[in-house]
């Protein structure tokens, strides 16, 4: 989609600046373009204590929004630099720039003769786009050298503190009067004035301009009345003293004014710090959080603390994106007016509520959170009592809302990428499992079909021994196929949890002889040694399941070790439980595969080169052992070969001996007797 063409309106602080907005809107409407009001704030303006200029610009920008325009308001070092950035960014869709021309002429700044800022903007913009100037009658607002400090933060109690500080100064002066002889005190009356001056400077810097002025006036009268002869009178006897007092008053008033202005500037610096911190924190949270709720919860707490306002995030419910509801904190209750303002904010994607042109009656202010990918939700703040939501806060909230939206979008994108990756991985694994299973099923089948087909076609010409050989091969492969299919079914059952375990007390020795008898045929190429099992011990287990584990282990030992190598089965007791060890004398297991060998997908990492039917046996063994509160592990023996150890935790002496739990220390003599 081609970007929509734009008309740019450059606005400055001028009584008739609205004419520029109207002209821009008219030009935009003629062609069906969008229009943007641009206000560039230089450091001189941003740090100025002149609140009325801020308020005027905010009204102007709000007006631009109401007139259907977009607004662009940012800080820049110089007007030229800021304008160049705006023009560069918009140059592809820019079709006209509207600038208000004033009667302001060249002016001198220090030694340099400068064009008025609007002329500089016209000169700059005309290199990018046609420029239309709108003549504005009257002089622009003049920002005086002196600006009234912010009165919003004025509190009555600050006056009391100012009076108190004057009182302290008074006390010090009384002390001085008491301590010094009258003649000496008279000479020191200037120092008394300085005491009151300190009180005045303290009040001004601590509590602002009005308490400072109050302190200077009260101090003036107190000094005059009590400490300048004639005492207890406002009269002044000498010209020197009159001059002193007049100078004192003048100095005190000036100190009050300038100190309070410095204080205002310091407060602005603090706010700047807050906004920098807030935006930095957003970036940090963006890199830490993995889920929406995690990020929003953290943001809500931190912003509440940092802005000293109630902060809430509102998100649309997953199923009905038209509605919007409180996400953090989830139990927030809003009045009808607040809800209406919130609804308007979400529906029309514009700032609503407190100190905004829409639903200003609400106690909350709502900022839409819009990310490059679309609307995400709404940020709401409710200033606490007496806290003024001024233009600076408005701007900060907009940037916080934007940043939060990008953070959330970023998290969402990461999550969906992760989900896609997992899905792909799972799909890959599934197809690998399928090909592995088909390989494992087909290899024994190939042996059966091949051997039987040879028997069928050539049988009559083969010596009887060869014929028997073929049939035996087919039978062996059929057994192998059976055990593999059983494994697949068992694994499926174990995974779906449909296997019930029937544990009972049983003797391990008889179980082992059962299994070895059944595997006799397969074990004939490997001499098997079953070492004597601990006598008089019963183990709590599901006999069928443990038989299968042993069968799988012996099966593996046969398959993976060279013909003729022995296999050992050893049972012993130790402090962990009843141990059954199956040791082969083959090549052992590569150390890097030791921890993966019980993994169902372990052998998928290899191709179909492996001997068939080996994939699931160990995975089943582990599942079975763990289902009985036991475990299975593998290690390479120091003299070669792999050792599989199965542990069952519950065992007891026969003849209804009490159940021995793993926590119970095993009596030493029994343990020794049991270990071979």
């Amino acid at each position: 989609m081609a970007p929509r063409m734009q008309v740019l309106a450059y606005i400055e602080d001028h009584p008739k600046a609205i004419m520029v907005l109207r002209a821009a809107r008219a030009r935009a409407q003629e062609k069906g373009y969008a229009w943007v009001a641009v206000y560039l704030e230089t450091p001189a303006q941003a740090t100025s204590a002149d609140q009325s200029a801020h308020a005027r610009m905010l009204r102007l920008l709000t007006l631009a929004q109401q007139m259907g325009g977009e607004t662009l308001h940012f800080e820049t070092q110089t007007i030229d630099e800021g304008m160049r950035r705006v023009l560069e960014a918009a140059k592809d869709r820019l079709c006209l720039c509207v600038v208000g021309s004033t009667e302001a002429e060249y002016h001198w700044r220090f030694w340099e003769r400068r064009m008025p800022s609007w002329q500089r903007v016209v000169r700059l913009a005309s290199t990018y786009t046609p420029v239309e100037t709108v003549p504005l009658s009257g002089q622009p607002f003049v920002r005086s050298l002196w600006r009234w400090p912010n009165l919003d933060s004025f509190r009555l109690r600050h006056l009391l503190y100012a009076l108190l500080s004057v009182g302290v100064a008074f006390g010090c002066a009384v002390l001085l009067q008491w301590a010094l002889p009258p003649a000496l005190f008279r000479i020191n009356s200037r120092n008394v004035a300085l005491l009151f001056m300190i009180a005045c400077a303290f009040s001004a810097s601590r509590f602002g301009m009005i308490p400072g002025l109050l302190a200077s006036v009260i101090g003036f009268f107190a000094a005059n009345y009590y400490f300048i002869p004639p005492y207890r009178s406002l009269q002044i006897s000498t010209i020197t003293e009159a001059l002193d007092m007049i100078l004192f008053l003048a100095a005190a008033v000036l100190i009050a004014l300038f100190t309070s202005q410095t204080r205002t500037l310091a407060e602005r610096a603090k706010r700047r710090e807050i906004s920098t911190q807030a935006l930095f924190m957003l970036y940090r949270i963006a890199s830490d959080a993995f889920t929406h709720s995690q990020a929003l919860g953290k943001l809500q707490r931190t912003l509440t603390h940092m802005l000293e306002m109630d902060v809430a995030f509102f998100l649309p419910p997953t199923l009905s994106p038209d509605r919007i509801e409180a996400a953090f904190p989830p139990d927030l209750s809003l009045s009808n007016g607040d809800t209406m303002a919130l609804g308007t904010c979400w529906k029309e994607m514009k700032t609503t509520g407190l100190a905004s042109p829409f639903n200003p009656g609400s106690a909350w202010r709502f900022e839409p959170m819009i990310a490059p990918g679309g609307e995400i939700g709404v940020l709401g703040v409710r200033p606490r009592k007496k806290h003024q939501l001024d233009p600076w806060y408005g701007r900060l909230l907009t940037s916080i809302a934007d940043q939060t939206a990008s953070v959330l979008e970023h998290i969402e994108l990461e999550r969906s990428m992760e989900a896609t990756r997992i899905r792909e991985e799972r799909e890959k694994l599934r197809s690998m499992l399928l090909s592995s299973v088909s390989h494992d099923l087909k290899t024994p089948l190939a042996g059966i079909i091949g051997a039987l087909s040879v028997h069928q076609s050539l049988g009559s010409r083969l010596p009887p021994a060869r014929r028997a050989d073929l049939l035996e091969t087919a039978l062996e492969e059929a057994h192998r196929l059976d055990s593999f299919i059983t494994n697949i079914l068992d694994m499926t059952k174990l995974e779906s949890g449909s296997v019930e375990f029937h544990c009972e007390w049983h003797d391990m020795g008889s179980l082992i002889s059962q299994v070895t008898k059944r595997l006799q045929h397969r074990l004939r190429k490997h001499p098997l040694t079953v070492h004597p099992v601990p006598a008089g011990i019963e183990v709590h287990m599901d006999v069928m399941m443990v038989e299968q584990v042993l069968q799988n282990l012996l099966d593996n030992a046969c398959k993976y070790t060279p013909t003729g190598t022995p296999i050992d089965i050893t049972c012993r007791l130790d402090e962990r439980g009843y141990m059954v060890e199956v040791r082969d004398h083959g090549p052992g297991i590569p150390p890097d595969r030791l921890d993966k060998i019980f993994d169902k997908y372990a052998r998928l990492q290899k191709e179909d080169a492996q001997i068939a039917g080996t994939g699931l046996g160990l995975a089943i063994a582990r599942a079975v052992m763990e289902a009985q509160d036991g475990w299975i592990s593998v290690a390479n023996h120091k003299d070669g070969g792999a050792v599989f150890t199965c542990c069952l935790r519950q065992w007891r002496k026969t003849e209804s001996a009490p159940l021995v739990q793993i926590e119970t220390p095993i009596e030493q003599p029994i343990a020794q007797a049991c270990i071979r």
């Binding site: 088909s438 390989h439 087909k442 290899t443 024994p444 089948l445 190939a446 042996g447 059966i448 079909i449 091949g450 051997a451 087909s453 040879v454 076609s457 050539l458 010409r461 083969l462 060869r466 050989d469 073929l470 091969t473 087919a474 062996e476 492969e477 191709e607 179909d608 080169a609 492996q610 001997i611 068939a612």
Partner: protein, 134 residues
């Protein structure tokens, strides 16, 4: 009846059951039969024996059967190159195309009937198959 008399055949497969019935049947048909369970062992065997036919599995324990296929086809046997029959569980056109591109003469998927393999060998060696009693 010894239709494969004087034919040298090498089978390379890691499944003992397959090697078993290949040996029984091919020896019954009079062939000079040899077998190996690994790709590298098979290659050495082929270099020594210079077989007429190689029966090659693809998934071998040490390496892919594909990797030795070109080397097998380069073995010079004065009159002709050895016939290579690929024998695998991979029922996939992609693998079949790959095997053919690397010079395989036939591609048989497991499981298979021994008659089919023998027919392919007859066909590739230009031997007229004996009449089979029905």
């Amino acid at each position: 009846m010894h239709t494969l008399r004087n034919k040298h055949i090498v089978a390379i497969d890691d499944a003992p059951s397959i090697l078993k019935f290949l040996r029984v049947s091919l020896e019954a048909l009079g062939a000079d039969y040899h077998e190996a369970q690994t790709a590298s062992g098979g290659l050495v065997l082929c270099e020594r024996i210079m077989p007429d036919v190689v029966v090659l599995d693809l998934g071998l324990p040490d390496k892919e059967g594909f990797t030795i296929l070109p080397q097998l086809k380069r073995l010079d046997k004065e009159t002709h190159l050895p016939i290579v029959v690929v024998l695998t569980v991979r029922n996939d056109l992609k693998f079949k195309a790959m095997a053919e591109a690397l010079g395989a003469d036939a591609y048989i998927t497991k499981p298979f009937h021994m008659e089919d393999l023998v027919d392919v060998i007859y066909n590739k060696l230009g031997i007229t198959p004996p009449q089979r009693p029905n």
